[in-house]
């Protein structure tokens, strides 16, 4: 299956500077009952975005008109807790294409990459600086260049490299699907099974 390619992303950002945001906050369990992958965006951060009666909570960052864009800038250990891929589907469905933090929970990061959502890890001090800058100047545009593995804010002279596994990078740049990759290895898999059968 072909997937959307990820090359260069230029966008304003949404700041959410809290540590340990778990996937139950990203998408609460009571909204997991769909058997499809789409439509989860409307319940992204549901209980922070809306009150119990379903009214918009104005102060929450997703409800503030000055903060828009396809990059979410957040705190440490983002996406911890439940393995639900629905969290990634909700973030992507809302329109985000990258999440920037100084650390991600392992399962979340894997799920994100499998859906073309790029988790970008940068050093803590730069993350702090970047977050403050976005809060003060919401019009700040960040560039995420996957080929060069660089996150930069041209106007501010910020340029910082970020790590990506080379295999994952190639898949994202080419829009390749790694299930296709494994399906292409069926003979090797069957040979492994034969070697290891009792």
């Amino acid at each position: 299956m072909k997937r959307a390619k990820f090359t260069i992303l230029k966008s304003t950002c949404v700041p959410l500077p809290l540590a340990n945001i778990d996937t139950d906050q990203i998408i609460p369990a009571r909204f997991l009952s769909s058997i499809n992958r789409d439509g989860f965006g409307k319940n992204l951060f549901r209980d922070w975005r809306y009150d119990k009666k379903g009214n918009i909570i104005q102060e929450f960052v997703l409800n503030r008109p000055e903060y828009t864009g396809s990059i979410l800038v957040t705190g440490s250990n983002f996406g911890c807790g439940s393995s639900r891929e629905h969290a990634v589907w909700a973030i992507a469905d809302h329109g985000f294409r990258a999440v920037v933090s100084d650390s991600f929970a392992d399962i979340f990061a894997g799920n994100a990459l499998n859906n073309g959502l790029l988790p970008v890890v940068i050093p803590s001090e730069i993350l702090g600086k970047l977050t403050t800058m976005i809060i003060l100047k919401p019009e700040t545009i960040i560039t995420i260049d996957l080929e060069r593995q660089m996150l930069s804010v041209e106007k501010e002279g910020i340029s910082v490299p970020f790590p990506v596994n080379p295999f994952r990078k190639e898949c994202l740049l080419q829009g390749l699907d790694n299930i296709d990759y494994l399906l292409g290895m069926k003979e090797e898999i069957m040979a492994f099974e034969k070697r290891n059968s009792p």
Binding site: R30, S33, N114, I179, E188
Partner: protein
């Protein structure tokens, strides 16, 4: 040959291929699926026009969203019903073994797999659920995966995975009376923080671990994910073999003796290197509770809530937000704090031993007025055993609600929700905001502390009750 860790031995023996500059192709021995994270994976297979590669290696159970009352009736919630039905249909169409609602083998996926003898030492085990780490108690590499990876395993029986770093946590000494393995793991997580083991796979070792039963070991491995670890595992030993010998499907297997011999080599070689080593003293572990909204925010049951400066686990914004949500403040003690609900169950503490421990403390007594106590066995087998041993009778006389198996109030996808603002002492694994229902306030604890809360209606030190002749 270089000395290797248990983890590396199991990993290496399942490596189909090491991809240049990329993740390894890892063969998966056992795949568990459930109704919430599998429908989209089957849809993916249909879109590709392919089937399930090795259906005999996948087992399904409905657990996450199912009601825990009147399971013989159709599920009222139409969306949940659609998920449960989709699971049944997908399994039927692909020849996958399926334990639906009411089936004698139904229950929480991490309770049923081990009790049926499906999880065996040296295996690789995955499931679209982060608490798959539970199965590590048998010396397996077991971890949670996302739905795209569920699809990958269904399609190829393999996963693309980068090898995590290795951590060993050695626990010496013995746990004191009134302290359970749940307290031990909450203690370890509070020391490491909720993200402290991210990127690692943990091996638990030491005499305190060796002394634990299989059920208690499963509780420890289960919560490895709550400190960010991919999983946790324990080398199989006599306790493991004893547990497996009690499972009919295994003890009648003509291959059993050969397997037991093979499993004796499943241990870390002396001198094998870990990327990180930590040590704990079991005798220093008190009964634990959590005071915040992640499992790393734990303290002794008689402890004092730390201030922002004292809390090592969070940035200050999160700490404040968390305490506000809980209605607590720094410097507060929780001993004597009123409790509205008590929940015994989940893949962490829904096994027969947990029900026995709880029953041991409450036997012949009644719940405190004003407290709702929900007992949800982890599986049909646990429910039958509880009935047989008279535990169900003890619970019903105490005024508790004995329910049918399922994940229930742990993630409250069904009707078992804690109302907004109410306090629940819960033997489950997560105290995240809204985890047990919108606005619900969760205090995680072990089964003894939960039993003490059920009897007194407040946070109570179980050691105090034990000193007074309870248990």
């Amino acid at each position: 040959m270089e000395p290797r860790t248990l983890f590396d031995k199991v990993w290496d023996s399942h490596m189909v291929k090491s991809v240049e500059g990329g993740p390894d192709v890892l063969y998966i021995d056992r795949h568990y699926i459930h109704e919430v994270t599998s429908p989209q994976a089957f849809n993916g297979l249909r879109q590709r026009g392919i089937g399930v590669f090795r259906p005999e290696r996948t087992t399904a159970t409905a657990d996450h969203n199912i009601p825990t009352a009147d399971q013989h009736l159709p599920i009222r919630d139409t969306v949940s019903r659609a998920q449960v039905e989709a699971l049944a249909e997908n399994c039927k169409a692909n020849g996958i073994e399926h334990f639906g609602i009411g089936h004698p083998n139904n229950g929480i996926v991490h309770v049923t797999g081990p009790e049926l003898g499906y999880t065996l030492p040296g295996m690789t085990v995955v499931c679209g659920d982060s608490h798959t780490s539970t199965h590590g108690a048998f010396g397996t590499i077991a971890f949670g995966i996302g739905t795209s990876e569920v699809e990958m395993v269904l399609a190829t029986q393999c996963l693309l995975q980068a090898r995590p770093a290795r951590m060993r946590i050695t626990v010496n000494g013995s746990l004191r009376r009134g302290v359970t393995s749940k307290d031990l793991i909450l203690y370890i997580i509070s020391s490491l923080s909720t993200g402290g083991a991210t990127g690692y796979f943990v091996e638990y070792a030491g005499d305190a671990i060796a002394q634990l039963s299989m059920e208690a070991r499963m509780t420890v491995c289960n919560m490895s994910i709550e400190m960010g670890a991919r999983g946790g595992l324990i080398a199989p030993d006599e306790v493991t073999f004893g547990y497996l010998s009690g499972i009919p499907s295994f003890s009648s297997d003509p291959d059993a003796v050969r397997l037991l011999e093979k499993w004796f080599s499943l241990r870390t070689d002396p001198g094998a290197l870990f990327d990180k080593e930590l040590e704990f003293d079991a005798s220093a572990v008190p009964p634990m509770i959590t005071y915040g909204t992640n499992p790393g925010m734990g303290m002794a049951v008689d402890g004092t809530i730390p201030s922002e400066e004292e809390a090592v686990t969070d940035d200050s914004g999160s700490h404040r937000k968390s305490l506000d949500y809980m209605g607590f403040s720094p410097g507060m003690k929780l001993l004597g704090h009123p409790v509205d609900y008590v929940f015994l169950g989940s893949c962490t503490n829904g096994r027969i031993e947990d029900l026995r421990a709880f029953a041991g403390m409450v036997k012949g007594r009644k719940k405190a007025p004003g407290v709702t106590v929900l007992i949800v066995p982890g599986s049909q087998q646990v429910a039958r055993q509880a009935e047989k041993e008279g535990l169900a009778e003890i619970f019903s006389r105490a005024g508790f609600e004995m329910r049918q198996p399922g994940c229930s109030s742990c993630l409250a996808m069904n009707d078992d929700k804690i109302p907004p603002g109410k306090y629940a002492v819960s033997t489950s694994n997560r105290n995240f905001e809204g985890r047990q229902g919108p606005g619900a306030r969760t205090i995680l604890a072990g089964p003894l502390t939960a039993a003490a809360a059920a009897l007194t209606g407040m946070i109570t030190d179980p050691r105090e009750l034990i000193r007074n002749g309870y248990q």
